[in-house]
C-alpha cells in the first residue's frame, strides 16, 4: 500500500509542478506587483487600443470560424449518417484529411493561390471576370479564417457524426408520426438532441481558433491575442502585459470548458441508437451528391494541393500553376543542416514525449480504475487539466517560470519541449486507458491470479493485450500531433540547434528565394507522416476517433 501511495504522490506532484505551478505563476504575475494585489496590469493592457482591438479580433475570429465550420461540418455529418451511397467509407476518411496539415503549414501554399498575383487572380483575369487583381488576402484576416475553417471543420463533422451515431432515429419518426414536418422535427427534436455534441465541437474550435499562433504568424497578421502574447515573450521580465493577456486566454478557455461540461452533463441524453430497419436512405440525386461532396473535398484540400505544388515548383510566378517543376527542395530537406536538425529533433522530442504519455497515461488510467486509494479523484482532475491549458499558455508559463533557472529554454529547451508535448496529449491517453480498463472485467485478472500468475505475468498476458490497441492508437495520434505541434515549439525553441520541424518551417517561410519552397517540402513530409498516423488510428478506433476531439 505504501508503494501505491508513493507512486500516487509522485505523479501528482509532477503534474502539479509542471501544470498548475506555471498557471499559478501567470496568475501571480498578472495580479500582484511587488507583493501587492493590483489590477494595474489589466488596466494597462485593456487601456491599450491595439491590444483591445486584438482581443476583439480574436473573439470575432473564433465566432466566425465556429460559424463557418458549422456550415460545412453539420450538413456533412447528416449526409454521412442518414444516406447510403457508394464509397461512403473512403469518403469519410478523405474528409478527415484536412486535419493532417496544420493551417500554419498549409498557409504557405494558400498564399500562393490567393495573393494579389496568385493563381486565383490570374485565373479570374484570364477568364475576363476581373480587370484588376483583387486583394483577397487583405490584412490576412480572411486568409486565417479560410485556413482555420478548412482545417477545423472535420472536428465539427466528427462530433456531430458521433452525436448522430448515438441518436435513436425513432425519436424523429415519432415526431413525423405526430404530423411534424422535416423542419419542425429538426428544430424541436434532432437539434436539441445533438446540441451537446455541437456545443462541445464549437468550444474546441473556438479555443483552437483564438489560441492558434502559427496561422496569423504566416499571414503576418498581428492584431490577435496569440500574436501579441508571442511578441511579448521577448520582454517577459520587464513588461507584464503578456501575463495579463495569457490570463485572459486562460480565463476564456477555462470558463468555456466548465460551461460546456456543465451544459453537457445537464443535457446529455444518450438515446442509444436503435437498429431501425434500413435507416440509411438510398440517395436518389446521386450526381448532385457526389459533385457537391467532391467539390467540397477539393476546396478543403486546396491548401494541401498547393503546398504540394509549391514544394515541387521551380518557377511559379504570374501563372495559375507552376511553369517549371523540380525535386531539389526535397533533396534540401534531407541534406540541409537546418531541416535535418528540425526533423531529427522533432522525431526525438515526439518519440520521447509519446513514450512518457503512454507510460504516465497508462499508470494514471490504471490507478483510477483499479486502485482503491483515497484522493485518487485529485489525479483524475490533474490529468484532465491540460485540456484547459492551451499550448501558448503553457509555453508562456514555462518561459516565465524557468527563465534564468536550470531549465531555462534559452539555454536548453529540450526538457520543456518534450514535457509540453507530452502533457498536452496526456488527457487523451488517460482517457483511452481508462475506458479500455473499464471494459476489462476485473475477473479476467483475478482468473489469471487464481491460476498462479504474478502481477507482471498478468499484466503481460492479460491486461496489456486487451488494452494495448486503444493505447497504441492513442499513442500514434499523440505522436503525430507532437510532430507538427506549433505553439510550444515556436515559443520554447529559441536556438537553432533545438528547433523542431514547425519552427524550421516558420523560419524558412520568412526567407526570401527558396525558403518557402523548402518550407513546403518539409511541410509535405510532416503531412505524410501525420496522414499515416491518422489513418492507422482511424483503422483502430473506427468511429470512436471523434472522442479525441470532444469535451465531456
Amino acid at each position: 500500500m505504501k508503494k501505491k501511495y508513493f507512486l500516487f504522490v509522485l505523479i501528482s506532484f509532477f503534474l502539479i509542478y509542471f501544470l498548475l505551478y506555471p498557471v499559478f505563476h501567470i496568475f501571480i504575475q498578472s495580479f500582484f506587483q511587488k507583493g501587492k494585489f493590483t489590477l494595474d496590469v489589466f488596466k494597462l493592457t485593456i487601456g491599450n487600443y491595439i491590444i483591445r482591438k486584438s482581443i476583439i479580433n480574436s473573439f470575432l475570429l473564433g465566432i466566425i470560424v465556429v460559424f463557418t465550420t458549422s456550415i460545412i461540418g453539420v450538413p456533412l455529418a447528416f449526409i454521412f449518417d442518414r444516406f447510403y451511397f457508394k464509397g461512403k467509407t473512403i469518403l469519410r476518411i478523405l474528409f478527415l484529411l484536412p486535419m493532417i496539415a496544420s493551417p500554419f503549414v498549409s498557409g504557405i501554399g494558400i498564399k500562393q493561390v490567393i495573393s494579389r498575383f496568385g493563381s486565383l487572380n490570374i485565373l479570374l483575369l484570364k477568364l475576363g471576370i476581373i480587370k484588376n487583381p483583387i486583394s483577397f488576402l487583405g490584412s490576412g484576416f480572411l486568409g486565417i479564417i479560410i485556413l482555420q475553417t478548412l482545417h477545423l471543420y472535420p472536428i465539427m463533422f466528427l462530433n456531430i457524426s458521433s452525436s448522430l451515431n448515438n441518436f435513436d432515429i425513432s425519436t424523429e419518426e415519432a415526431s413525423y408520426n405526430l404530423g411534424a414536418s422535416w423542419f419542425q422535427t429538426f428544430l424541436k427534436i434532432t437539434f436539441p438532441l445533438i446540441l451537446p455534441g455541437y456545443f462541445s465541437a464549437s468550444s474546441i474550435i473556438f479555443i483552437w481558433s483564438i489560441t492558434d499562433l502559427g496561422t496569423p504568424l504566416i499571414f503576418e497578421y498581428n492584431n490577435l491575442i496569440a500574436v501579441r502574447i508571442y511578441n511579448n515573450i521577448k520582454d517577459i521580465n520587464t513588461n507584464p502585459t503578456g501575463y495579463a493577456l495569457v490570463f485572459i486566454v486562460l480565463f476564456i478557455t477555462i470558463s468555456l470548458f466548465i460551461f460546456t461540461k456543465k451544459y453537457i452533463e445537464k443535457t446529455s441524453y444518450t438515446t442509444g441508437r436503435i437498429a431501425t430497419l434500413h435507416s440509411e436512405k438510398i440517395i436518389e440525386r446521386k450526381f448532385l451528391l457526389y459533385s457537391s461532396l467532391f467539390l467540397l473535398l477539393f476546396i478543403s484540400l486546396i491548401p494541401h494541393i498547393t503546398l504540394l505544388l509549391y514544394s515541387f515548383s521551380k518557377k511559379w510566378f504570374f501563372s495559375i500553376l507552376p511553369s517549371q517543376y523540380t525535386d531539389e527542395y526535397y533533396k534540401i530537406v534531407f541534406t540541409h543542416r537546418l531541416t535535418k536538425t528540425g526533423i531529427f529533433n522533432s522525431l526525438i522530442y515526439s518519440s520521447i514525449s509519446t513514450t512518457i504519455d503512454i507510460l504516465l497515461g497508462f499508470f494514471i488510467g490504471y490507478i483510477l480504475v483499479r486502485w482503491k486509494i483515497k484522493c485518487k479523484g485529485l489525479l483524475d482532475i490533474l490529468s484532465m487539466i491540460p485540456l484547459l491549458i492551451p499550448g501558448i499558455v503553457l509555453a508562456f508559463g514555462y518561459v516565465g517560470l524557468f527563465s534564468n533557472t536550470l531549465l531555462d529554454p534559452i539555454k536548453n529547451p529540450v526538457f520543456l519541449i518534450i514535457l509540453s508535448y507530452s502533457l498536452r496529449r496526456l488527457p487523451y491517453i488517460v482517457r483511452t486507458t481508462y475506458s479500455s480498463l473499464l471494459q476489462l472485467n476485473e475477473n479476467l485478472e483475478e482468473a489469471s491470479y487464481s491460476l498462479g500468475a504474478d502481477d507482471i505475468t498478468t499484466f503481460k498476458r492479460i491486461i496489456f493485450p486487451i488494452v494495448s490497441p486503444g493505447i497504441f492508437a492513442g499513442g500514434i495520434l499523440a505522436f503525430s500531433f507532437s510532430l507538427m505541434e506549433v505553439s510550444c515549439s515556436l515559443i520554447l525553441a529559441v536556438r537553432e540547434k533545438f528547433y523542431p520541424i514547425s519552427k524550421v518551417i516558420y523560419i524558412l517561410s520568412g526567407r526570401v528565394t527558396d525558403g518557402p519552397n523548402t518550407a513546403c517540402a518539409l511541410g509535405v513530409f510532416g503531412m505524410i507522416i501525420t496522414g499515416i498516423c491518422l489513418f492507422i488510428s482511424i483503422k483502430i478506433f473506427s468511429k470512436k476517433i471523434g472522442d479525441f476531439f470532444r469535451i465531456g
Binding site: 419518426e173 415519432a174 408520426n177 405526430l178 404530423g179 443535457t267
Partner: protein, 353 residues
C-alpha cells in the same frame, strides 16, 4: 355492418434484393383490436412501418378511411405509432412529450393544456407529468408513449411490440390497461407481437404471419379451434399431432382414421383433398371416459401450473402427448404409472399434410 377503416392490398417489399414481405392483404374494421402475430424476423415490424409511412412498399396499396395513402409522407397520414423502445424525447418532460402533436397542429395553449390533462387522466400519469423520461419507470414510459400517440386522435393506432421491454408482472398489468384504454377510446388499433398470449387476450382479430406472408386471419376462437395448418396450430397454443390416413367414411361427417396408435373416429366439417392427414388435438380436448379414440401410455412428466395440471405421456410406440387436466387430480398421478384417456371425436383438428 362494420365500417372498413384500413385496407391493405398486395403489399410487397424487398431490402437489397431480399424479399421481406410478400403479397400482404387484409382489411381492418372500425374499433378492431387487430393483431399481427408471428415469430421474430417474419416481417411484421417492416409491415407496420409501411402502414405508418416510414418505409415505402415496392408494390401494393394502403387505403385508410377510403383514401389511398400509399405515397403520403408519415406526417400527413394521421396514424398513431407506439414504438417498441417508446422513442420518448429525452429533452422534454412527460407533459411536453404528450403535448407535442397538438402543438404541431397549432392548437391554442388552453386547448392543449386541457387535452393533456384529460390524457394524463386516462393514462394515469398525472403525478409524473413534470418528470423527464429518464426519471420514470419502463411501465410509465410505455403509457407516455401511448398517451402521446392517442392525444392527436389518430384514425388508427399502430403498436410495435409495446410490452416487450417490460417484466412479466408489468406486462400483465399493462395488457389490462390497454384493453381498458381500447374500450374507453374506441380507437382502432393494430398491434404487432410475437407473444400469442397477448394476441389471445387482447385481440378481436389476428393475422398470423410466417416468412413474409400472412397465413391466416380470424378471431382468436377461429384460429385456435380451426387453424389452417400445423404452423398456426402449434404457434397458437399447444397441440398433439399424429400422422394418419382416412380409411373409411362411416357416415356424413364421420370418418375412420388409421394411425400407428390404432384407429380413431373423428367428426369432419370439411372433406380434405388428400387421404393422408395430420390428426391433431389440443391438450385440453381429452376425457377420461374410454369408449372410442383411446390412447394408452406411461406418465413421463408432469407440470403443476396452478390453473391446470399438464401431463406428458409416452405411448408404447414412442409417441409423446401433452394432456391438460384439472389441477385437483394432482395427487392421483405418479411418474411411470399407466394412463388411459380418450379424445372426443368432435374435438379433433384434421390438417392436410
Amino acid at each position: 355492418m362494420e365500417r372498413e377503416i384500413l385496407r391493405v392490398e398486395n403489399i410487397e417489399k424487398k431490402f437489397d434484393g431480399k424479399e421481406v414481405l410478400k403479397n400482404i392483404s387484409f382489411t381492418v374494421y372500425e374499433n378492431d383490436f387487430f393483431f399481427i402475430l408471428g415469430p421474430s424476423g417474419c416481417g411484421k415490424t417492416t409491415f407496420l412501418r409501411i402502414i405508418a409511412g416510414f418505409t415505402q412498399p415496392d408494390r401494393g396499396r394502403i387505403i385508410l378511411n377510403k383514401k389511398d395513402i400509399t405515397n403520403l409522407p408519415p406526417n400527413k397520414r394521421n396514424i398513431g405509432f407506439v414504438f417498441q423502445n417508446y422513442a420518448l424525447w429525452p429533452h422534454m418532460k412527460v407533459k411536453e412529450n404528450i403535448a407535442y402533436g397538438l402543438k404541431i397542429r397549432k392548437y391554442t395553449d388552453e386547448f392543449v393544456k386541457r387535452k393533456v390533462e384529460e390524457m394524463l387522466e386516462i393514462t394515469k400519469l398525472k403525478e409524473i407529468k413534470d418528470l423527464y423520461p429518464n426519471q420514470i419507470s419502463g411501465g410509465q414510459q410505455q403509457r407516455v408513449a401511448l398517451a402521446r400517440a392517442l392525444i392527436v386522435d389518430p384514425l388508427i393506432l399502430l403498436l410495435d411490440e409495446p410490452l416487450s421491454n417490460l417484466d412479466a408482472k408489468l406486462r400483465d398489468e399493462l395488457r389490462r390497461e390497454l384493453k381498458r384504454i381500447h374500450k374507453e377510446t374506441e380507437k382502432t388499433m393494430i398491434y404487432v407481437t410475437h407473444d400469442q398470449k397477448e394476441a389471445m387476450t387482447l385481440s378481436t382479430n389476428i393475422a398470423i404471419m410466417k416468412d413474409k406472408e400472412i397465413i391466416q386471419i380470424g378471431s382468436p376462437y377461429e384460429i385456435y379451434t380451426n387453424p389452417k395448418n400445423l404452423f398456426v396450430a402449434s404457434f397458437i397454443g399447444e397441440i398433439n399431432v399424429i400422422k394418419g390416413k382416412i380409411v373409411e367414411k362411416i357416415k356424413e361427417n364421420l370418418v375412420k382414421i388409421e394411425t400407428d396408435e390404432g384407429y380413431f373416429f373423428s367428426d369432419l366439417y370439411k372433406i380434405p383433398n388428400s387421404k393422408d392427414i395430420f390428426l391433431c388435438f389440443r391438450p385440453e380436448s381429452i376425457t377420461k371416459e374410454e369408449r372410442i379414440n383411446v390412447i394408452k401410455g406411461r406418465l413421463k412428466e408432469y407440470e403443476f401450473l396452478g390453473e391446470t395440471l399438464k401431463l406428458s405421456i409416452i405411448t408404447e410406440k414412442g409417441n409423446i402427448f401433452k394432456l391438460s387436466i384439472s389441477p385437483y387430480d394432482f395427487e392421483k398421478y405418479r411418474r411411470g404409472e399407466n394412463i388411459i384417456f380418450s379424445v372426443e371425436k368432435e374435438k379433433f383438428i384434421i390438417l392436410e399434410e
